[in-house]
């Protein structure tokens, strides 16, 4: 607390980062509550949802949209609002918060890069793909994309200039980009990113490390479990699968080596019985609630805990993730309403 560390003490944190933490806590107060969700569930049409959302912190964000409202429009506008909030903070942040916030964006950047590689591989017009990229993952060399016509050019001119360059260079060779399955590329990059992020948080130390290491370890384990389950019956071999597990987390190293050898979901459940948290998550699943839903719920729980302490950067990460869950919830409710499937509307995860 009095620490020799430059980051995270009660004496030093507020000098550079206090304003931003306050901003984020203000934003966090606007996250939809159970009462808001109760109102939204009772709507019969998307227009009613628009009215209810106008009374929350969202305000008039849908005001200029033409009359038959679509769920995709709602999703876009919510995301736009989140991006504006994030960019507002990012533009004013100083080190080390700036780097931390950048790390948050690398995940989305990986998705964008993968989309661009896919487009180039199939000879599509890459400039069209820019519109389809996730806004939080924009990088500067996107402007040079129009000159790119092959994967080699993409690699050498564009990708090398991105902050993802170290991940790409360590894991992927130029020739491999053509042959590897695009999902394998995506997961390899993401593994490198997670490991890097985890190490950075450890370097920062203090409250940040405390909060973020839990969250990131859960993310690593969740990916390992998901990759295992989803690769049953596909062409992904067990060795390849093991290469995609991040090298940290509760399950690492014994759990992951066991997971790499499994063949069906019951074996996976047996292995996870040894870990208390995951045993509880799995026992929580049912016909109505899938494993993914249980994971989302646990993630929300972890992210909420970040706001219980101060002087750490965890709040920024958690705020983004909670808002994303909120957007997912709103879109789910909107879809249930527009497709007249109100019986399933309660499958979202309330946050506060």
């Amino acid at each position: 607390m009095f620490g020799t560390r430059g980051h995270g003490g009660i004496f030093t944190f507020n000098r550079n980062d206090g304003y931003f933490e306050a901003l984020v806590r203000g934003y966090r107060a606007g996250i939809l509550t159970q009462a808001d969700y109760a109102n939204l569930i009772q709507c019969d049409a998307l227009e009613d949802m628009k009215l209810h959302l106008a009374q929350t912190d969202y305000g008039d964000f849908l005001a200029n949209e033409p009359s038959p409202l679509h769920t995709t429009t709602i999703a876009e506008k919510c995301l736009e609002r989140l991006v504006n909030e994030f960019v507002h903070i990012r533009n004013q942040a100083v080190e080390p918060l700036a780097t931390f916030l950048d790390y948050i964006t690398y995940g989305y950047m990986i998705d964008n890069v993968v989309l661009l590689i896919t487009g180039t591989l199939h000879d599509r017009d890459v400039t069209e793909l820019i519109e389809k990229c996730h806004p939080l993952g924009f990088f500067k060399s996107m402007a040079t994309l129009s000159a790119v016509h092959s994967v080699a050019e993409l690699y050498n001119t564009v990708l090398i200039d991105t902050p993802l360059a170290p991940y790409i260079q360590n894991c992927l060779l130029e020739e491999e980009l053509d042959e590897m399955n695009i999902e394998v590329i995506r997961n390899t990059l993401y593994k490198a990113y997670l490991e890097d992020f985890y190490n950075y948080c450890k370097e920062l130390g203090g409250e940040t490390e405390m909060i973020m290491s839990d969250i990131l370890q859960f993310e690593a384990d969740r990916r390992a479990i998901n990759i295992t389950i989803n690769s049953f019956g596909t062409e992904l071999t067990k060795d390849d699968r093991e290469l995609l597990y991040p090298n940290f987390g509760v399950l690492y190293p014994e759990g992951t080596s066991k997971l790499a050898k499994t063949d069906d979901i019951d074996q996976v459940k047996e292995i996870l019985n040894a870990y208390v948290a995951y045993r509880d998550i799995i026992s929580d699943t049912s016909a109505e609630k899938s494993l993914e839903d249980a994971f989302f719920e646990y993630e929300v729980k972890l992210n909420k805990m970040a706001f219980q302490t101060q002087f750490g950067y965890g709040v920024f990460y958690s705020y983004i993730k909670l808002r994303e869950q909120e957007i997912r919830n709103i879109v789910w409710i909107a879809e249930c309403i527009s497709q007249q499937m109100k019986s399933k509307v309660n499958q979202f995860i309330p946050i506060f």
């Binding site: 896919t118 599509r124 995506r186 997961n187 389950i229 989803n230 995609l244 497709q339």
Partner: protein, 260 residues
């Protein structure tokens, strides 16, 4: 029109036989076409009820599929763009096959099952939402299959409809146009032939009557002459030459009647 629509033909016996065989042909044709029309109508009604069932099923399937897509988007995020960019060739194809129902060729669509081909997109959502994506994929496959079936049924429906209409038109044409004409023609020919026969008969009778009258007249003349001869000359020597002469004369008189 006088209402007597018949085929203009010269009324001979051969024409009658031809017409009779035509009538037989028309009757056979009529019964065959009627059978075909009935078979097609049965098939038609069966298809109609199947279409109804299928449409409702398809509605439910499409609804489930859309909902499963919403669930997949919830779990895996915005996968649409990656999926679009990654598509190369179609993994599901369908083929047009032919089915024969009572002589009608109905097109049917079949799904070509390519079991061995691996799907390059099977790893989508590997780290997040893979199961929901797979479920969604299965639902949409089911939806496509029900759409293919519905397409087959609907094309069959339309084709059958056309064919049934034409067949019924032909059946009615034979029943109400062709057969009556032929029957009328036959009755006309028969009437004409009978009339000819009657004329023949009448003529013969008239000729016979005339002959009889002539014969009677001759007999009366002969009798008169005999009486005169008997009075003038009681000798019988003249009779024989007279008889001879009479037979000869009779022969001549006959010639006169027959050939004048």
């Amino acid at each position: 029109m006088s209402g007597k629509n018949r085929i203009p033909i010269f009324p001979t016996r051969m024409a009658l036989t031809t017409m009779k065989s035509k009538l037989k042909g028309a009757v056979t044709g009529h019964s065959l076409l009627k059978k075909k029309s009935d078979a097609l109508t049965i098939r038609f009604r069966a298809i109609l009820s199947k279409i109804l069932q299928n449409k409702q099923l398809m509605g439910a399937t499409m609804r489930e599929a859309s909902f499963s897509l919403a669930a997949a988007k919830y779990a895996a995020g915005e996968i649409a763009h990656t999926v679009y960019e990654n598509t190369t060739t179609a993994t599901m194809r369908c083929r047009l096959a032919n089915e024969n129902v009572a002589g009608v060729h109905l097109p049917t669509f079949e799904r070509i099952k390519d079991e061995g081909a691996s799907n390059p997109q099977e790893l989508t959502g590997l780290a997040k939402g893979g199961q929901q994506i797979n479920k969604s994929r299965e639902q949409y496959v089911k939806a496509i299959e029900s759409l293919i079936e519905l397409a087959s049924l609907q094309t069959a429906f339309i084709t059958l409809d056309e064919v049934i209409r034409t067949t019924n038109r032909r059946v009615n044409a034979i029943e109400y146009v062709v057969k009556p004409r032929i029957e009328n023609t036959i009755s006309y020919i028969i009437a004409e032939l009978d009339e000819g026969d009657r004329e023949e008969f009448y003529r013969l009778k008239k000729v016979q009557g005339k002959k009889k009258r002539d014969l009677a007249a001759k007999e009366a003349e002969k009798a008169q002459k005999k009486e005169l001869e008997g009075v003038l000359n009681p000798g019988s020597s003249r009779h024989q030459p007279a008889q001879q002469r009479t037979i000869l004369e009779e022969g001549e008189e006959d010639n006169l009647v027959l050939f004048s």
